[in-house]
Structures are given as structure tokens and as C-alpha cells.
């Protein structure tokens, strides 16, 4: 790989770290970017890729996925993903973290998130320092919230000492119980076990208090309600090291999508009310939300072709992450450069990896993107290992035309 000739991607519009989008080229040697800018030109012997006026952007960094599904990630322009510890068995030992960290190379990099507790049971702390040294790039509580406040405090103190970010799932376990929907008219009409949306704000309030006490950095993987986002906004304003993420489902859909018991719309946290969807849009616009991720969780018919409450939550999101985020740009919610901060730069800095930006010295993870190219999501023909998307048949715009990982062309 390192013996390959230098790569120059020419004739594109560069998505630059300073927030500008300018015509130019990027030149890479080995697995690094060496030059970016309007005056960059290819040199003799370079491999040259003509971007034909399309966007030249950093490869997407997907923070918080549940499966490594390379074809889907590559389709979606994703070159790195932070893997949730909810694997079988859970990523709660250095050996499994080390294995996961190398599982995608060379053309896809996996950054495992260490399980906060043994078996993700929320009781005993896992060997976090050993996992960090084995390649873990953060700590995650998994699909669950840690109910015991004492355990959470000790976790946060330990994470602060190791200077690692704790990624938490914000749903108060006591309120949620076996709920699969948000309390409201939809859940009431469908007769689904439901929990109030306030379960999220309760969990965020407690976790913020604990993180502040412990002095640790905390990341809420999916914040989906107005009340929860208000808490994050206020914590940021007083200078806390807090970040928030979301997946496109929560700014595209409300609980109306669960009509007819559509299990592809069974997500965790559950889809919220329309008013919360609008709050997510506002939080994306004002910077309260730092990360947009896919939450990629491919689930076959054995998990989804079941009565709603018996089905597994989750959606295959890797392929739709980019086009759905670009709808925010098209609708004027955010600018194009901001979209790539949410998709690339912010998650990369959360992971502490030198990627997510087009600048000299960074990893040559580059996506060439036609932001206007229309296509239709088809759950039957997805690259993912399962087609469980609530966006089936939806027309979208934005598609990756070429992808480079560490300077090498993918696919």
C-alpha cells in the first residue's frame, strides 16, 4: 500500500476546516494528506482522480455503530466508525477490543468504545485502562443507561483520570421499563408499552451532575427531546465538557412513522413527537448537537418481522447518513461546511483521531461527493447486511462517487 504512487484529487470543491468551500485539489503521499488548496496540482507519476467539480470532503467518521458492515459504510462514504461495545460477547476485555480495532483494516478503521461495565450489566467497572491501551477510543454504557448513580460516579471519576470520554445512553431505566414507544397519542392508539419523553431529560440531568462532579467529558450519543437538548445547551453554556449526537431518524421522523406497527421505525430511544423533532433541528442549527451518526444496526427479518414490541430496535443507517444530513443543508437548517463538521471533524475530535479534516498531515481519508445526485432508498437493494430502514422508497440526494482510505481507493 505504502509503495503506491502519490494521489492527487483534482478539479473539486474542497470542504476545508475553516468552514469554506473552495475550488481546488488535494494531494496525498502514502496514507497522509500533504497539500490542500486552490493552487495544488498533480505531479508527474501521481495517480490522478478528477473530481469533476464535485465536493472533496473528509471521509465520514461514524460515532456509535452497532455492527461493522463494510459495504454499507463504504457506500455511505464512511471511512471510520466508533463501534459500540454491544457486541456478542461485549467489548469488555482488552482482547476483544484489540480484535475489533483491527477488524476493518486496511480499508476501514474501527475505533472500539470500551464497555463501561463488565458484560454491560451496569454493575462492575470493566478493565477500561487495559482496553484503552488495546485501542479503545472512548467508554460507552452501551444500549443501556447505568441506573446505579454510585457506579456512574465511579465510572466518570475513572474516565476523568484516564482522560477518556464517557458515551452514555440517556434514558432513565426506571421510567422506561419495557417501553418501546414514546407516551403520546400514537402509542396510546397502537396500544404499545410507552414511556414519557422526559425519561431522556431525567437521565441527562443526572449524568451531567455526575460528570460535572467527576470532571469528566461526557457524550450523549442520541439526544432526541427538547428538554434533553435544553439541558445540554445549558451545560455547554456554563463550560462543561459535554457533547451530543443524534441520528437522522430523529430529525427526519416523528412517532407517526410507527403507524401500522412498522418495526423498521422501532428505534432506541423511540421516535418522539413532532415538537421534539423540531427541537432537534433547532439544536443542530445552534450547535448544541455536535455529531450526526448513523447508529448503524442492521437487523434481519428474524429481528424485525415480529409484533412491534417483540422486535429489536435499530435501523441500518450507514447508507442514508450522508444524504439525510444533506437534507438539512438543502432545507437551510445548517450550512454545507457545518454538515461536514457534524459528520467528520467533530466525531473525529471526540475520538481523538487525526482524521475528519482536509489538512496537511491528516490521514488521507477522502470522499468525493456529488451532493445533488438523486437516488431512491430501496431496502431490498441495500449494501448493508440487512435493509431495515424506515426511509425505504424515499427519494434522497447526495451520493459518494469515490472513496479513499489512507490514500488508497476503496472498491
Amino acid at each position: 500500500m505504502s509503495a503506491a504512487a502519490p494521489l492527487t484529487i483534482t478539479n473539486g470543491r474542497l470542504v476545508l476546516p475553516d468552514g469554506s468551500i473552495t475550488p481546488g485539489a488535494v494531494r496525498c503521499e502514502g496514507d497522509r494528506i500533504v497539500e490542500v488548496g486552490a493552487r495544488v496540482a498533480s505531479q508527474s507519476g501521481d495517480r490522478v482522480h478528477d473530481a469533476k467539480g464535485q465536493l472533496i470532503a473528509p471521509g465520514l467518521v461514524d460515532y456509535g455503530v452497532f455492527a461493522i458492515d463494510k459495504p454499507a459504510f463504504h457506500f455511505g462514504g464512511i471511512t471510520r466508525a466508533a463501534l459500540m461495545p454491544d457486541q456478542s460477547p461485549p467489548l469488555d476485555r482488552p482482547s476483544s477490543v484489540r480484535f475489533a480495532a483491527s477488524s476493518g483494516k486496511p480499508d476501514f478503521w474501527v475505533h472500539p468504545l470500551a464497555a463501561a461495565t463488565k458484560g454491560l450489566e451496569g454493575e462492575k467497572l470493566a478493565e477500561i485502562a487495559l482496553m484503552r491501551d488495546a485501542g479503545a477510543r472512548g467508554i460507552a454504557t452501551g444500549r443501556q443507561w447505568i441506573g446505579d448513580s454510585g457506579t456512574m460516579l465511579r465510572l466518570c471519576q475513572y474516565a476523568a483520570m484516564l482522560d477518556m470520554t464517557v458515551c452514555t445512553h440517556a434514558e432513565d431505566a426506571g421510567l422506561v421499563g419495557s417501553a418501546v414507544a414514546t407516551s403520546g397519542e400514537m402509542a396510546t392508539r397502537l396500544g404499545l408499552p410507552a414511556a414519557p419523553a422526559q425519561a431522556e431529560a431525567l437521565a441527562i440531568a443526572r449524568d451531567l451532575a455526575i460528570a460535572e462532579m467527576a470532571g469528566c467529558a461526557i457524550h450523549f450519543r442520541t439526544v432526541t427531546t427538547a428538554a434533553g437538548l435544553d439541558l445540554v445547551r445549558a451545560a455547554k453554556a456554563r463550560g462543561m465538557r459535554v457533547t451530543a449526537g443524534v441520528t437522522p431518524a430523529y430529525f427526519m421522523l416523528s412517532d407517526l412513522a410507527t403507524a401500522q406497527f412498522r418495526t423498521f421505525a422501532h428505534l432506541s430511544p423511540p421516535l418522539r413527537w413532532e415538537s421534539d423533532r423540531k427541537a432537534v433541528l433547532a439544536a443542530l442549527a445552534d450547535g448544541t448537537i455536535d455529531v450526526v451518526a448513523s447508529g448503524h444496526d442492521p437487523r434481519g427479518p428474524e429481528d424485525k418481522r415480529l409484533p412491534f414490541a417483540d422486535s429489536s430496535p435499530g435501523m441500518a443507517g450507514a447508507e442514508t447518513l450522508l444524504p439525510l444530513t444533506l437534507t438539512l443543508v438543502r432545507d437551510g437548517v445548517i450550512g454545507m461546511a457545518h454538515a461536514f463538521e457534524l459528520l467528520c471533524a467533530n466525531p473525529a475530535s471526540l475520538l481523538g483521531v487525526g482524521a475528519g479534516k482536509l489538512e496537511a498531515g491528516a490521514e488521507a481519508d477522502i470522499a468525493v461527493i456529488d451532493p445533488d445526485r438523486p437516488w431512491i432508498v430501496d431496502s431490498e437493494k441495500m449494501a448493508a447486511s440487512a435493509g431495515n430502514t424506515p426511509f425505504d422508497r424515499q427519494p434522497v440526494q447526495g451520493r459518494v462517487s469515490a472513496l479513499f482510505k489512507g490514500g488508497a481507493k476503496v472498491g
Partner: protein
């Protein structure tokens, strides 16, 4: 008794649905049509010879994935009175969960060429899931906390026999609204027919935003009963009363038990209904449940058989080739 007063469209246009998964999606005239259709079976069931051969040769499968005694029996009798071959398939939920998936079970039933399948399942939406996969009509005999449409229809039939008109009729439904499919189907059915529905329960047993279903919400049983024409009590599941939702059975009775004293605050001719089985002395006192002039509880059981006969008759007309109900006529 109210005589049928509607003129319905001919043939399947009167009830253009393949199955009966819920009251949601039924137009008021379609509900009236089913109620009218049931009247002939009420008559028949009161005769000495109460069988017909209308459905002779048809196979009806009662697939009950959740325990039931009275609903299963009611469907079985309804099928047999119409001359169908009725097969009961009782499936313990646990064995299905461990082995065969619901879809596989549905495909199996479909491959047996049943002419109608009656399903009860503990999960909301399960009946719709099966209905989407099989070729024959599917009747929902209760899915989770979602719907129990034949119960709502038989309750409406019961009310119609005692009261002239649904318009403006005040119906109070009291009990565990949160977990009740009977309540949901009854709310949809009665509001659709023009009744004014009140729901009454402690907050823990009241689903969120239920007022969006066009009902008035009460926590005070006395206020909910005031001027009511019909009082519908729901069964309280005893396992929910061990401190999780309600402190104790006697405390529940103290606030929400239907006693003769409380009943006196409703209309003097108010009907008392209960889908059964009752917890006597908890949600309803015996002297109310057995009140000769007021209690409709045994009438509900009687109407249940007639109503289910009507459903089986109407929904199998297509397969029986009844004129105006053939394949092409249906939507």
C-alpha cells in the same frame, strides 16, 4: 329493540374489508351494518333449533396465542351454529417464542387453506402482522393492548338493544384503560356512533393523550358517573394491583369499585356492563353485577355469539361466492 333503519350499499360495498383487525378504519355505517347483520342471529340463538348450514364445509381456525375461555368459546359456538368446521389451536405464548416465529405459524395456517382465522395474541399489532401474510379473512380476537373489535361490536349491540340511540349517549368506561384493548376498541366504536365517552382511571392506569381519541378524562369516579347512561367496568388484572400501579385491591375498590351507592349517581336507567371475567367485590359489587334491571353482563355474552356469527358470515361471503361479494367486487 331498534329495527334496522339504514339503507346500505349493495353487496360488499356495505362492508368492503377483507378481515376485521380493528374498529379503527371502519366507517360508522359499516359498524351499523354489522350490528344489523347480528340481529338475525340474536333471533336464531333464541330458538330451539339454533343451527344453520350457511358456512357448511368451511374451516375456521381459532388460533389463540394467549389464554382465553369465554372469547374462544364464543367464537367456537358462533362458527358451529353456522355449520362451519371449527378447529381450535391453543398455543402457549412461551413455546411460540422459543420456537416457531409468528410469521411461520401464520404461513402454516395459511397452507392449511383455512377459510377464516380468528387470532388472539399478547402483542399489539400481531394480528395485523398475520393478516398481511395470509390469504383468508382474519378476525382479531384481541391483540395486546391494541384492539378487540368484536367485543366493541357486541357491546354496541348490547347497548342498542336497551337504548334507542347512540347519539349523545353518555358512556363511562372505568378501570385499567392503559392496558385495555377493550377500552380502545370501545372508545373508537362508541365515539364513531355518536356517543359521548368518558374514561375513568387512576393516573397510572390512564394512557397518555387519550383525550386525542375524543374522550373526556376523569380520575374521580363520582364525577365520571354523574348522568351516565352506560357504565362499563373493566377487569382489573390482579397482578397489577400489588403496589406497582395501585396500592391494593381494597384501596382500588374504595376509589373505583362500582357499588349500588355509586351507581345511584348515574342515570336512573343506566346500564351496567363488564366484559368479564369479573373480580366481584373489587371493580364491581355482586349486587350491581347481578342487578336484574341494570346489569347487561349476561346479555353481553349472548350478543357476543350473535355478533361473532355476523362477522363470520359477512367475512366469508367472498369465499362462499355470495352474489355481490365476489373477489372483484371487494376493494
Amino acid at each position: 329493540m331498534t329495527a334496522p333503519t339504514y339503507i346500505y350499499p349493495a353487496g360488499s360495498a356495505a362492508f368492503p374489508h377483507r378481515g376485521l383487525v380493528g374498529i379503527a378504519g371502519l366507517a360508522p355505517h359499516e359498524i351499523h351494518y354489522m350490528l344489523d347483520e347480528a340481529e338475525q342471529w340474536v333471533e336464531l340463538n333464541r330458538q330451539a333449533k339454533k343451527t344453520r348450514d350457511l358456512l357448511a364445509g368451511l374451516t375456521i381456525i381459532n388460533a389463540f396465542f394467549e389464554n382465553s375461555t369465554r372469547t374462544l368459546l364464543s367464537f367456537e359456538i358462533a362458527g358451529k351454529r353456522l355449520g362451519a368446521d371449527v378447529v381450535n389451536m391453543a398455543v402457549a405464548t412461551s413455546s411460540v417464542k422459543k420456537g416457531e416465529t409468528l410469521i411461520d405459524t401464520a404461513m402454516t395456517l395459511n397452507a392449511m387453506h383455512a377459510d377464516a382465522i380468528v387470532i388472539r395474541h399478547a402483542s399489539s399489532g400481531a394480528v395485523q402482522l398475520i393478516a398481511d401474510k395470509v390469504d383468508c379473512p382474519v378476525l382479531n380476537a384481541g391483540d395486546g393492548q391494541h384492539e378487540h373489535p368484536t367485543q366493541a361490536l357486541l357491546d354496541a349491540l348490547t347497548i342498542r338493544h336497551a337504548k334507542r340511540n347512540f347519539n349523545g349517549l353518555v358512556v363511562t368506561i372505568c378501570g385499567d384503560i392503559l392496558h385495555s384493548r377493550v377500552a380502545r376498541s370501545n372508545i373508537l366504536c362508541l365515539t364513531s356512533l355518536g356517543a359521548e365517552v368518558r374514561v375513568c382511571a387512576p393516573p397510572a392506569l390512564m394512557p397518555a393523550e387519550i383525550e386525542q381519541m375524543n374522550v373526556a378524562v376523569f380520575h374521580d369516579f363520582g364525577a365520571a358517573l354523574k348522568g351516565a347512561d352506560v357504565v362499563m367496568m373493566l377487569r382489573l388484572q390482579l397482578e397489577r394491583m400489588q403496589g406497582q400501579f395501585i396500592p391494593s385491591p381494597r384501596e382500588y375498590r374504595h376509589l373505583y369499585g362500582l357499588t349500588l351507592d355509586r351507581l345511584a349517581t348515574a342515570q336512573p336507567d343506566a346500564l351496567v356492563m363488564h366484559p368479564g371475567p369479573m373480580n366481584r367485590g373489587i371493580e364491581i359489587d355482586s349486587n350491581v353485577a347481578d342487578h336484574v334491571e341494570r346489569s347487561q353482563i349476561t346479555t353481553q355474552v349472548e350478543m357476543g355469539v350473535a355478533m361473532r356469527m355476523a362477522c363470520l358470515d359477512v367475512l366469508t361471503r367472498r369465499v362462499r361466492g355470495v352474489e355481490g361479494w365476489a373477489m372483484d367486487d371487494a376493494r
